[in-house]
């Protein structure tokens, strides 16, 4: 008897992946709730790392007919001192089963580990990227080629032989073109046959030959060419501009809020594009491109000129990120201060140079801790941007005061299409 030994180690693992996904889909509402709740209190970076979540078992259980209570009989090993007829005290009133205790906790909630991807998926599930500017960019996007059926005209290099021959065959059968075998058989018969039959055969052969000449083996109308068409290939890289006011009026709290927003945006973009670059531009009355560390923590002081940052962004786009090759996203965070004279310049820069090339421009106005957004008077920048929006500029803007508001605001900005913010263009 032969024994088969098979090495299965190289087989694709995670056969359960699909089952796992089904399970997550089923538990979606619960898991999403757990994810969002934790995202408010914990650091976003940690939250997005994935990790353990626990969801209530309710709705995910698999019920069976089970029995409980009643008289019980059991045979146990390890008798030490009992003799027949002894009465033992019941261990506990709670069911009396000493070892049931551990099961109790685990039945209420069900803990398991989510991978980072699963976590982010659930986290950002009902959000969608706005594609406001895409239409304008459509014609300059790079193109790819793909097969698209057959055509009656084309270059000889593209002749589809099989298709042509099969069409020719169909036509020959339909028009009853005599087959060569039949003709050969008649000619063979012609070699030895009686005289009267001979004339008959000759006529028949002649008729056949004429018909064969009339109906060609391959006709130009049979010929088919493979057809190709060009399809626009979506641009698979994105750049994200983080603009932030770092003048003295911005507190640590405000910077923290902005940072959280940028992180969410980064995670979100990362999911859609293969390659995401980040450009940090901070500004006071001058703007400069800096690295992340300086951006968030570097000291700076001075007045506030928003247009400087916009100008810097415009310059960078022109020199490094061709709008045809890059999806450009920008998020600006500020406490709303701006020098009065700057409004005109900033709005011209935005409408003429920046908004036409960006997919999305969000403005986040960060406020004081414990401040209530609806009680704040509209700031200079807010008034300016709102004016632009009223004139139809595709801007998204929100006010945020609390850490816990970041996710809802983000969520709000990127809600599925057709809900808001799209009326702009």
């Amino acid at each position: 008897m032969a024994i088969h030994i098979v090495d299965r180690r190289l087989n694709p693992g995670s056969k359960s992946l699909e089952n796992r996904q089904r399970f997550l889909r089923r538990a979606k509402a619960l898991v999403q709730g757990a994810v969002k709740k934790s995202s408010q209190s914990r650091d976003i970076k940690d939250v997005l790392e994935g990790g353990e979540v626990s969801v209530p078992i309710d709705g995910m259980d698999e019920p069976r007919f089970r029995r409980e209570g009643g008289t019980r009989d059991m045979v146990l090993p390890g008798n030490k001192k009992f003799v027949e007829g002894d009465i033992l005290p019941r261990p506990n009133q709670s069911g009396g089963r000493g070892r049931g205790a551990g099961e109790g906790d685990s039945e209420d909630t069900f803990r398991f580990v989510l991978s980072r991807d699963e976590f982010v998926d659930l986290f950002l599930d009902d959000l969608e990227l706005p594609d406001l500017a895409k239409r304008k960019l459509a014609e300059v996007e790079s193109e790819g080629i793909r097969r698209a059926g057959y055509t009656t005209s084309g270059s000889p290099a593209n002749i589809s032989v099989s298709r042509t021959v099969s069409r020719a065959l169909t036509r020959r059968v339909a028009l009853r073109r005599p087959r060569r075998e039949v003709l050969e058989a008649l000619e063979a018969e012609l070699l030895d046959c009686s005289e009267e039959r001979r004339a008959e055969l000759m006529a028949e052969i002649e008729a056949m030959k004429t018909k064969m000449r009339r109906i060609p083996f391959i006709d130009p109308i049979d010929i088919r060419y493979r057809r190709f068409e060009t399809v626009p290939k979506p641009v698979a890289q994105a750049v994200m501009f983080c603009l932030m006011d770092v003048s003295g009026s911005m507190t640590e709290h405000m910077k923290d809020l902005a940072k959280r927003f940028y992180m969410l945006l980064y995670v979100f973009l990362k999911r859609r594009y293969r390659h995401v670059e980040i450009v940090f531009i901070r500004h006071t009355d001058r703007a400069e491109e800096v690295d992340e560390q300086t951006f968030f923590y570097g000291p700076a002081s001075g007045g506030t000129l928003v247009s400087s940052a916009l100008q810097a962004m415009h310059d960078i786009v022109r020199s490094r990120f061709r709008p045809a090759d890059w999806n450009i996203y920008a998020a600006q965070a500020s406490d709303g201060d701006n020098s009065y004279a700057d409004g005109e310049v900033a709005s011209r820069l935005l409408t003429d140079n920046i908004l036409p090339v960006t997919q999305f421009f969000a403005y986040l106005e960060v406020g004081q801790e414990n401040g209530l957004s609806y009680e704040m008077p509209n700031s200079a920048l807010w008034t300016l941007y709102e004016g632009l929006r009223a004139n139809g500029a595709p801007l998204s803007m929100r006010k945020v005061n609390e850490r816990s508001e970041i996710f809802p605001v983000f969520h709000d900005l990127f809600q599925r299409r057709g809900q808001q913010e799209r009326t702009g263009s």
């Binding site: 089904r22 259980d61 089970r66 009643g70 008289t71």
Partner: protein
């Protein structure tokens, strides 16, 4: 294969040639010395992750997709990662060829143990035990699972994932009551039927006595009673296989839903023998691996070091904690099974006076393997324990029987211990713990209100006062009602017919749409 004085391997490392040598050596001993009769073996080496995968789909290599398997996987993965749970060394599948999965992390000694245990011990049991022969089709099971997987996937494509999921959820909830417990009557072919009719006629003629005509019969049954009886007979009631009943008679199920119920039912049936033979199955496999590896060591094909490593694993496997030990969680089937097999070996070869009294048929016959093979083929846990648990073993395990009746007295009564007066009672009670008739709740379909609102009526016969847990029962009945698409009622009644509790479930709308 003939050189027996050569070491199979040294140290812990192994490769595929080593595995082949181990298999050949085990096979030689299993066949020639133990007389085992096994399905062809297929041994597959897998990783820990694949083992986890296999765990979550009830150990089968292929299975249809369902979220509950994903849930088990997530749960097991979490506890495995935390180190709460170790993985089994192997999984073996009752199929032909018999597939055993070995973990790649095992040492060479462990692989030998696992091969002897699964590929020969379990394999022999699967092939020869009457329950497996009666209820499972080892040749067909892998093909059937393949079919089931494709069919369910196909249904999801045609009818939507959600509809299929609902049906599967419901079917899974009823899975434990989707089993035929008795082999069905084989329908006779025409010739056999004719023969039987002929025999019956001949018997009637030979036993004719005109006096029978004058014997009074009972009171004539009223029309209404006859109607009920006729209806019940036509529906095949009472019926304890709920899934079968639904598949055949539920009024508004789609054909594909019936097929899915059938698939779940077939799979439940396939696992039915395994739940009845845990002690025997593990006992057989453990006894076989112990014999094979001891023999390998005697032949000098295993070093002393490796043999000690084996003994350590073996001892862990057959460890039985006592009832007051925190590790105690019922009888360990490996421990009990192995102890009983060894005890039988002792009774057959070297019996004492007590054994001759208790087991006159096998005591001292000398043919250990003959006796064991016969037992492995013809018993299940319940009958095995009730016939072969010896007083000596009861003393060894220091067994005692507790009787806990809250209504009778405040404490728990020690009803029997391992002494002369207690042996038989102990043995009976322990055997009863393994009796499927007592393990599963006895729930039957008793009637359908065909003339009225088509209500499906179920009855749970309460044994020893153990009623169904309410929350679970409501959910299961909800699933049942969704499949039946009319109301379903469940009555819990004790042996005297007193109704203890009644449940009613109304179907939800989804099922009708699905």
């Amino acid at each position: 294969m003939t050189t027996t004085d050569q070491l199979l391997f040294e140290g812990a490392d192994w490769d595929f040639r080593t595995l082949q040598r181990i298999c050949d050596a085990c096979e030689q001993i299993a066949r020639d010395e133990l007389g085992l009769d096994v399905y062809p073996n297929q041994i597959e080496v897998i990783t820990a992750e694949q083992m986890l995968d296999a765990y979550s789909s009830v150990g089968m290599p292929l299975f249809y997709k369902h979220w509950s398997f994903g849930k088990h996987f997530a749960f097991q993965e979490a506890s495995y990662r935390k180190g709460l749970m170790g993985l089994a060394y192997e999984i073996v599948i009752n199929s032909s060829p018999c597939i055993s999965y070995l973990m790649e992390e095992n040492t060479a000694t462990m692989q030998t143990l696992v091969i002897a245990h699964a590929a020969f011990g379990h394999n022999h049991f699967f092939k020869n035990n009457y329950l497996f022969k009666q209820w499972t089709d080892a040749d067909g099971i892998l093909d059937y699972l393949e079919f089931a997987k494709r069919y369910v996937a196909h249904c999801e494509e045609r009818h939507g994932r959600l509809a299929v999921e609902h049906t599967l959820d419901a079917a899974h909830a009823l899975m434990s009551h989707g089993i035929d417990r008795y082999p069905g009557k084989k329908s006779l072919d025409l010739r056999a039927e004719e023969k039987r009719a002929g025999r019956r006629r001949a018997h009637e003629e030979s036993a004719f006595n005109d006096l029978w005509r004058t014997v009074p019969t009972g009171p004539a049954k009223s029309g209404a009673v006859l109607d009920v009886e006729r209806r019940r007979a036509m529906l095949g009631l009472p019926q304890e296989n709920l899934l079968y009943f639904l598949e055949k008679t539920a009024p508004r199920l789609k054909p594909w839903q019936r097929e899915i119920l059938r698939i779940v039912r077939h799979i439940a049936q396939y696992f039915y023998p395994q739940s009845q033979t845990k002690v025997m199955n593990e006992g057989t496999a453990t006894y076989v691996h112990y014999r094979i590896i001891s023999r390998l060591h005697e032949q000098g094909r295993l070093t002393d070091g490796n043999f000690l490593e084996f003994l350590q694993s073996h001892t862990n496997v057959v460890f039985q904690p006592e009832f007051d030990d925190p590790r105690y969680s019922g009888f360990n089937p490996y421990a009990l099974g192995f102890a009983m097999m060894q005890d039988i070996e002792r009774i057959v070869t070297n019996p004492e006076a007590e054994d001759r009294d208790w087991f006159p048929d096998i005591a001292g016959t000398g043919d250990t393997m003959g006796v064991l093979r016969d037992i492995w083929a013809n018993y299940r846990d319940e009958s095995f324990i009730s016939q072969f648990l010896s007083p000596r073993l009861m003393r060894h395990f220091r067994m005692f029987h507790l009787h806990d009746d809250p209504e009778e007295r405040a404490g728990i009564l020690v009803d029997a211990i391992h002494d002369e007066r207690g042996y038989r009672r102990l043995r009976r009670e322990l055997a009863r713990q393994y009796d499927v008739g007592f393990i599963d709740a006895n729930i039957e379909v008793v009637d359908v209100d065909l003339a009225g609102d088509r209500r499906l009526m179920l009855r749970h016969t309460v044994v020893k006062g153990a009623q169904l847990s309410e929350a679970d029962t409501k959910r299961v009945l909800q699933h049942l009602a969704d499949l039946w698409t009319y109301d379903v009622s469940l009555v819990e009644a004790d042996a005297s017919g007193t109704v203890l509790k009644e449940y009613v479930a109304n179907p939800r709308k989804i099922a009708a749409v699905a």
